[in-house]
Symmetry: C2
Subunit: 151 residues, 2 copies
């Protein structure tokens, strides 16, 4: 299977905002009518928005996860979009496709503390995309995702 | 109806990236497997990603639309999320709710050149949310949206 066989879509899996005060931002979005997923905790907050996850993550955590250096000028990532894929191998394939298309590799596929495999690329403007294979996230045939409940 | 009756969700309607070169970014995302909606043009590019619109908009256009000053330091908006609502009156209601929750009003409800009514608020970190009533965008019962074809 070559890298062209896996692309973005059919749905964007996660939108993650890097926030300066996680508790405050959680309260703000709850006040706006969103309900935090039970797996939210003091490190990350998830909202299910129609088969997509809207996530709040401390700004430093997001920047580190995306492979950039917190506090540095140009490279700090404050927001990311994510495409979850069905297999570990697809992570590398989709990152390769992004590089072939003119994107920039931010992080090679590797294992985050919460499981699975993820890497990051940047689009031509530096917007960060995470490509993730995560056993804790179910992906439907329509591309919509759901955070699995703790087992 | 008070402002608490309209909230965010059940789905985020648009994710818009403010890009420096619209044609280049369009080619990048098409190379990644996304197909531009027929209503895309030289001013804006739309991709349907599972009942959500992923949009590319020139950075200056997005900043101006969100009510910020292009080229200024802190206030330039480079990305926005949008919640489309079912009525013109709901735009003001949802913006008021955001202000009540501690958000910042960026733009009062007003009419953009492409029709409808929209305003913007910023969340506690300054992330911009557009609240839009747009007759050109259909909203399903599940909150998912579709750009209507030209009539």
């Amino acid at each position: 299977m070559n890298s062209e066989s896996i692309g973005l879509g059919p749905a964007i899996s996660f939108i993650t905002l890097g926030v300066t005060d996680l508790a405050k931002s959680r309260i703000f979005y709850e006040s706006m009518g969103l309900e935090a997923h039970p797996r939210s905790n003091s490190y990350v907050v998830f909202f299910d928005v129609g088969g997509q996850v809207f996530a709040l993550f401390p700004r430093e955590s997001l920047a580190e996860d995306a492979g950039s250096v917190p506090g540095s000028t140009e490279t700090t990532i404050t927001m990311s979009l994510a495409q979850n894929v069905a297999s570990e191998a697809d992570v590398g394939r989709l990152l390769q496709r992004a590089v072939n298309a003119g994107g920039t590799l931010l992080r090679e596929p590797s294992a985050p503390p919460w499981g699975g495999i993820r890497g990051y690329f940047a689009d031509p403007d530096g917007f960060a995309w995470e490509v993730a294979w995560n056993p804790g996230v179910a992906i439907g045939a329509d591309g919509r995702v759901a955070i699995r409940n703790e087992t």
